[in-house]
């Protein structure tokens, strides 16, 4: 980390220190004071505004969390400077025109450790809201946590900008007015992946699903089935595996005799690393079944996980939200600024978090306030470009971003240890769109957390 930033941040935090002492007084004594300014939760009063970055710092997703945090620090740096990175390519000029900060306030941030547990994530989010005065909570690396924190932010009256969360429920049956998601979901993965699978593997496939036994896994399994079965693919079996099973051998051996010629691993994180590594060890990919090469598909990829799986991931199809090797200007600008600061390319988690921070700050700038309902209205049906995913819309009816989806493949001959995925196809946004009612749920009204 550069010394310059530290000095910057230190002076910023001096103000912040004073602000947080004031906030530490139990709120029912200070409420009167708050009401005089703007009437919403944690309305910033001084020259700064606080963002809350809630990422996994311990546990299985700690590396992803660390990458998210790096992206947030970078985003804050760019917002406060009024430019840099993807902020320069972003289609909305509001922040650039403001010339640094949001609504005339410098952005500072507080961090929390979600531990990838709903309870812990809610507790750290509450701390940032109740104690540190955060106007927005963002980050996270799993859907359970995202949904739990989203619910909390709705109750507390702050905006939640989801980090990496892929489950349909986040903007489906668990959607909330105060919550927004930039990342894609299992529905889009299914829609994007199916045509590519058909082109590469044909229409006559017998599929065996291994599915992590929790909500996201079921939802992923469902959408792959939904989009491949009309193509002629047939599900032989869908087996649920315990989360964190470690050794998957007892689930892999039955595949050998099942007559299946395709294995779909609806796993993420460590489960994905382990099941993929072990499935390849079992020689599945060397097999010929029904006169076809046996293939494996991993619907949701992340570069960090591919790194963990090593050679096993080579040539295996999957989908991802973004990849640093994209050649559009925005992606290049982001990789450039991130790479210069940290020395390696950003992950998709870092990208989505950076984008969320910029999108939120921009919406606040355009709204002229941090009041959730007004900021939310700015985000709803907001069309933008220049954040690495092409033209994108934040759909108002479910607060889900719609953008192109990347179908990727594990790279056969990586040139560096970061060059692990190659983009096979960019599925256009039109192909992955679905009506908001499909996934159910109610946004409900905005909550500003006012007295």
């Amino acid at each position: 980390m550069s010394k310059k930033l530290i000095v910057n941040r230190r002076s910023v935090l001096k103000y912040g220190g004073a602000a947080s002492v004031a906030l530490a007084t139990p709120y029912f004594f200070t409420r009167g004071a708050l009401a005089q300014s703007e009437n919403y939760r944690n309305a910033p009063t001084g020259g700064t505004v606080t963002f809350g970055f809630n990422v996994p710092q311990t546990g299985a997703y700690a590396d992803e969390g660390a990458d998210e945090l790096r992206a947030y620090e970078l985003a804050v740096e760019h917002i406060n400077a009024g430019g840099g990175g993807m902020l320069d390519t972003f289609s909305s000029a509001a922040l650039r025109d403001a010339g640094g900060g949001v609504n005339g306030k410098k952005v500072e941030f507080v961090t929390g450790d979600t531990q990838t547990k709903s309870d812990a994530a809610r507790a750290s989010a509450k701390r940032m809201i109740e104690n540190d005065g955060a106007v927005v909570i963002t980050g996270g690396s799993s859907s359970g946590v995202a949904i739990a924190v989203q619910g909390l932010c709705q109750e507390a009256g702050v905006i939640f900008m989801a980090g990496l969360t892929h489950s349909n429920d986040t903007t489906g049956k668990d959607k909330r007015a105060n919550g927004f998601r930039h990342f894609f979901n299992t529905e889009m993965t299914g829609a994007a992946l199916a045509p590519v699978l058909k082109n590469n593997y044909g229409t006559d496939r017998k599929v065996y699903h291994l599915t992590a036994d929790y909500t996201w896994g079921w939802s992923q399994e469902g959408s792959i089935q939904k989009y491949t079965e009309p193509l002629g693919w047939e599900t032989v079996a869908a087996v649920r595996t315990p989360v964190g099973a470690g050794d998957f051998s007892q689930y892999i051996t039955p595949i050998l005799n099942s007559g299946a010629d395709t294995l779909v691993l609806n796993h993420y994180g460590k489960d994905m690393v382990n099941s993929l590594t072990q499935a390849v060890q079992f020689g599945l990919r060397d097999k010929q079944v029904n006169g076809k090469d046996f293939v494996i598909v991993v619907p949701l990829y992340s570069r960090l996980m591919v790194q963990g799986a090593g050679d096993a991931a080579k040539g295996i199809f999957g989908s991802t939200n973004w990849h640093w090797s994209l050649q559009d200007d925005a992606s290049k600008a982001f990789v450039q600024s991130f790479g210069e600061k940290y020395g390696f390319p950003p992950s998709q988690a870092a990208h989505t978090c950076y984008a969320q921070a910029i999108l939120y700050a921009d919406a606040c700038q355009r709204a002229g306030t941090f009041q959730p309902s007004v900021v939310g209205a700015q985000l709803e049906d907001f069309d933008f470009d220049g954040l690495g995913n092409g033209p994108t819309t934040y759909r108002g009816s479910d607060h889900q971003c719609f953008k192109d989806v990347l179908v990727v493949k594990g790279k056969e001959n990586p040139s560096t240890k970061y060059d692990l995925l190659e983009v096979v196809e960019v599925t256009p946004r039109a192909n992955v769109e679905y009506p908001a009612e499909l996934l159910g749920g109610e946004l409900g009204p905005y909550n500003d957390g006012a007295a």
């Binding site: 079992f282 050679d311 390696f344």
Partner: protein
Amino acid sequence: MDAIFLQILNGLDKGGAYALIALGLTLVFGTLGVVNFAHGALFMLGAFCAVTLHRILNISFERVSETQKDFLGNPLKEQVPYLQEWFGPQVSEFLLDWSVPISILLAIIVMGIIGVVMERGLIKHFYKRPHADQILVTFGLAIILQEIVRHYFGANPIPQSAPDVFAGAANVGNWVGLGDNVIYPWWRLVYFMFSALVIFGVFAFLQFTTFGMVVRAGMQDRETVGLLGINIQRRFTVVFGLAAAVAGVAGAMYTPILPPDYHMGMDFLVLSFVVVVVGGMGSLAGAVLAGFMLGILQSFASMNEVKSILPGIDQIIIYLVAVIVLLTLPRGLMGRKGVMED
């Protein structure tokens, strides 16, 4: 038929791993009477011995490539291992290929030293302390060890590959006349043989050497052995080192199956305790028996046919078996009276 045969193989393979991980734990229980919550961390450290060796063998200098570019578009700085520079590509390739088996040697030495230092520096002061204190101190140590590993290696799993000759699967079906669909990964077969060998080695060591005899006597009755003027203390230090080394090699050899990360020790901790307790506290044979039993039962409980009758059974089978065994056999399969009952 094929399916059952494969699940038995799975069970044996798992059982070998469970037994190997639990072996050191039960040894420490039986001899020192210490509840070692850091045992999982020792397993994890062993796995990282393999990672470290691979990294050491890969220590490289940079050479600017004329043709390739890095992700920022600058000329790529190629990493050339010193090993390759010194011994040529063939030796270097061979060593890197075989780094996991070779790391056993490193694991034995490093883990043995860690075990002895741990026993002398910490555990020995806790022999007479209540089990709760032992749990707290070793748990604290486990956290520290894993945080140190995380600091240097990150939280992400780090893949390790088995030597090329053991890559892929063996056609076990052909050996036993069951057709082509019965295949099993070479490395898992190797791991099974390896665990059998280590378990046998530890047994032989305790059974046929005078050192082992004294240790076994000490397990039976520590005070009497002490009265005979034998320095049982020093031997127990060695036993702890041995337990650590066994956990270490178990971890190192497991890396191609399960890419190691800093948290893997905690993931195995509960499991290894269940194995030890089901086997009977302080009984080596019990731990091995329980390991195989739980491994095989877990494999069968995971079969689709079983799961369709009892949904979720594969998630709880280990604990269910533990409950049943402990309620029917008060001290586990082969436990001795009076060990760890207060």
